[in-house]
Symmetry: C2
Subunit: 218 residues, 2 copies
């Protein structure tokens, strides 16, 4: 593959993975909303789900502009992303909230980092799609309230957060092994190993900050 | 209750029931979308779910304009609407489609009819919320394609359609017995029995037309 077609393939991969991630986050959040203890919280989480769908629509439109069939661009990431969700299925409302907040956060940071390697317009699109929509408020409030009632909740949720990071890494490795253009964006000439190590450092740090904000150990 | 406060209570009931119905239709469709055999169909059904949520938001805004807490207006209809969905849970993708199309259709006709009794601005709001968003296209296409592959599908889906109507009626009766202002809108001085019978006639007719469009017996 030439340098340009390699970059193009990596960009399609990046947007396809992100689009499938958003479509799945939509279903996941909409389903989790059903676990909400109050109608107000249910509407709030449903509203977040709708936001995710809006992002999916922008990514889908971008793929179409590039002359790519969106479903074909998303397909290669289906197994890994579905596996992530199956293995981190929240067992209750609180885990659903932690997943929404921490899971979205890890994903957003990752996509923002990767997109920095593929040109400023794609970086802008991705940053726009994954910007924090302020869901932190409702999550922090609900999680802290639950910990006040029962402090043991903190240990269980911290463990769940760690499980989520482990699954995310293992699925990301699976994708990297499979998708050569996307992987070479990260480890190719443009991004040396030092940059890669620094990137993982930033991702871990941001994750710890998010957990701390919820009052949880990373 | 005075005539005006009785009408106001009925309007709040009507909008509250409709709002809860839309919020629930959103979760239901989002969950059913996950059963879709293709990514394209999944995105299409998710898009419909997002439309339902938009309608919920208009109704919610209207309740707030009226000085009503939306959650309080929705609460009385929670049991009946949840029961309807539990008892008509689709067992596969095709039943999910029939439910989306036929179930939404019955609901929309009903709300449009009832709102005709409560003043033109509410009627306009409700008609706007429940207007056909063209979901017919994808449903008709998928159901007909499935029947071509296996004609026995028609019998099963027709039965499912009848079960849905039965459940809708039985839950509507439950609500009518409970919510006096709403019920008296229908059977009070403004709407006599002849009008009520005519209304049920129109509802049944519209339902049969929808089933016929899917190639199914009502």
């Amino acid at each position: 593959m030439s340098d340009t077609s390699q970059t193009r393939a990596a960009v399609v991969d990046l947007i396809g993975a992100l689009a499938y991630g958003q479509l799945t986050a939509f279903s996941q959040l909409a389903a989790d909303a059903h676990l909400a203890p109050t109608l107000a919280a249910r509407a709030e989480l449903s509203r977040l789900a709708v936001t995710e769908f809006g992002r999916y629509e922008s990514l889908r439109a971008r793929l179409e502009e590039m002359g790519v069939v969106p479903e074909e661009a998303m397909e290669p990431f289906r197994v890994a992303i579905d596996a992530f969700h199956e293995r981190t299925a929240p067992s209750d409302w609180l885990e659903g909230l932690v997943k929404a907040y921490v899971g979205e956060g890890i994903g957003a940071d990752f996509y923002r980092e990767v997109s920095a390697f593929v040109g400023s317009d794609i970086h802008a699109l991705v940053s726009d799609v994954v910007r924090d929509e302020g869901q932190a408020g409702v999550v922090v409030r609900e999680v802290k309230a639950a910990m006040e009632i029962d402090p043991r909740v903190a240990g269980r949720l911290a463990l769940y957060g760690r499980r989520m990071v482990g699954e995310a890494l293992s699925q990301a490795q699976r994708v990297a092994a499979d998708r050569e253009p996307l992987a070479s964006l990260l480890i190719g000439p443009k991004a040396d190993l030092t940059a890669l190590v620094a990137m993982f450092g930033r991702l871990t740090e941001a994750h710890s900050r998010r957990m701390a904000r919820l009052g949880l150990a990373a």
